[in-house]
Amino acid sequence: MTLLQVDGLSKHYEARRSLAQRLVGTPRSVVRAVNDVSLTVAKGEVLGLIGESGCGKSTLGRAILRLHEPTSGRVTFDGTDVTALAAPDLKAMRRRMQIIFQDPYASLNPRRTVAEIVGLPLALHGIASGEEARAITARVLERVGLRASQLDRYPHQFSGGQRQRIGIARALVSNPDFIVCDEPVSALDVSIQAQIIALLLELKREFGLTYLFISHDISVIGYLADRVAVMYLGEIVETGPVAEVLDNPRHPYTQSLLSAVPEVGPRRDKARVRLQGDLPSPLKPPKGCKFHTRCPLAIPACAERPPESRGVGPGHVAACHRLDGNLSLLEPVR
């Protein structure tokens, strides 16, 4: 059953023009942070959204929650068109759609106690107040591995991992169905990362949660996601079941991304794809296929028109002009 459906979602930012530029008539430059993205998330599923910094994956997560108002497109959550909701209904919907942030330092108000931070949704939605709210907050806090005796402390008295637990408790307290996890472990040390990942998976099972898990770390996504979507310059270039995409990546960008991940384990000579150059500026994205400037397989057609998404396996879709030749960058190069 589909819980979340995203259709043609775009988020464009207009770069500011100075008065002089406006007078001279410099055209508006638009950053297409998210461009015509469609995806679905089934109930109880973890969809991993992967991409490098600046690819628009965080913006996508926030546009889905309408934290950043989408420019166009539609988000349907459990049959309701979220993009059409008026303010009061949107507020009610926020109970069911939550977010966990990357930075455990910036995401907690330094002047509020843990009880105030975690209990905020209870107050905002009139779920509970006073002693009752405190009791619920304490319970959730204990569930995420903190102690009820820490309710009256301030964020600065906790370590990064503990703060992330506070952020998780805050997202959990209103009993949501769906949580956007925006790089929730990227800022943490390896041993703490594992604790938080384990906690998120436990909570998912226990409360029947659905996650959109945003990360730049393929190992993390490979470990916990059911399906994965790969993003490059505001567009999704490949989606599919995680095993399919990781074992048999079809888009050259996915292939190069996978081969760049340093792996623990006995050293072996794996085929390497090294991308040349950096991510193009999102202000001036390449024409045609956005990846063609760095793609080792690019042909002239790639620079001319954007590729269509095509099915390449069960539930596995990729957008590339060169899927037919069954070309792969990952053939052993030696």
Binding site: D103, N109, Q157
Partner: protein, 299 residues
């Protein structure tokens, strides 16, 4: 390895940022001493009728321009001497403190309140709200402060309330700009976004999430500005546009003494010193506040 990495487990329980900052402030001895001087002036103002040795408005032509007690011709009942109408200078300084401090506090409270409202609105809503408030701020900043206040006083006529209004009319611009800038920065932080994600509306976000986090710089700036307001009030009174005689005001006392500055220096000097001491104490104390509460701003 930084202190921050070690803090979580070693920090004492329930210790708010505010209390930590206060501890920091207490470590700065000069600032604490200055704060005490300011406090002394406040106590003096409040308890003026109890402290003042004489009636500040009682004239006595026989004591006209009587020198301070330690100079020949002085009298310990009138320790700092008397002015051109034979009024006791010390008593007038004590009563004058009421005017200076009342106006300083009233103007700053009013201006800070207005500034916070306008700054929060401009910084949070941005768009046309920001443009309108920004233009008003720019226009007000274009006028020289004192001339602006003189103009207003001339229009509204003298009086305590009018002085407060005339000064606050422009003073709110300062906290407004601080609040707007801080709001712009804080509104982008993740915890504000988190509150929005939880369903919080603009009111909650502005008052509960943003304001408590930007209050430190606002308080710091406001105390620094208070010294300035006191000087402005003295200037207005000096020009005869402030509190009307016979009410004692430091500015008008300095002005009164101008005529005798060469032979009877004490008439102008002591109220001048009072202004200097209070303004200096406020400045040093507020800089201590700034160092403790808002280390970003100190060098």
């Amino acid at each position: 390895m930084t202190d921050a990495a070690l803090a979580p487990t070693s920090a004492p329980a329930a210790d708010s940022l505010f209390r930590r900052n206060l501890r920091e402030f207490r470590r700065n001895r000069l600032a604490v001493a200055s704060a005490l001087v300011v406090l002394l002036f406040v106590v003096m103002a409040v308890a003026a009728p109890l402290i003042a040795p004489q009636d500040p408005n009682a004239t006595d032509l026989f004591r006209r321009l009587q020198p301070p007690a330690w100079i020949e011709g002085g009298d310990w009942a009138f320790p700092l001497g008397c002015d051109g109408l034979g009024r006791d200078i010390l008593s007038r300084i004590i009563y004058g403190a009421r005017i200076s401090i009342f106006i300083g506090i009233a103007v700053i409270l009013l201006a800070t309140g207005v500034g916070i409202l306008a700054g929060l609105a401009a910084g949070y809503f941005r768009g046309w709200v920001d443009v309108v408030i920004g233009r008003i701020v720019d226009i007000l900043l274009g006028f020289p402060y004192l001339i602006f206040a003189i103009g207003l006083m001339a229009m509204m006529g003298p009086g305590l309330v009018n002085i407060v209004l005339a000064l606050a009319y422009k003073e709110w611009v300062i906290p407004c700009r601080v609040v707007r800038g801080e709001t712009l920065a804080v509104r982008e932080l993740e915890y504000v976004e988190a509150a929005r994600a939880l369903g919080a509306g603009p009111r909650h976000i502005m008052w509960r999430e943003i304001l408590p986090n930007i209050l430190s710089p606002v308080i710091v700036v406001s105390t620094i500005r208070m010294a300035n307001v006191i000087i402005l009030e003295a200037s207005l009174s000096f020009l005869g546009l402030g509190v009307q005689p016979p009410t004692a005001s430091w500015g008008s006392m300095v002005s009164d003494g101008r005529a005798f500055i060469l032979e009877s220096w004490w008439v102008s000097t002591f109220p001048g010193l009072a202004i200097l001491l209070l303004v200096l104490a406020i400045n040093v104390a507020s800089q201590g506040l700034r160092d403790a509460f808002d280390p970003r701003f100190s060098e």
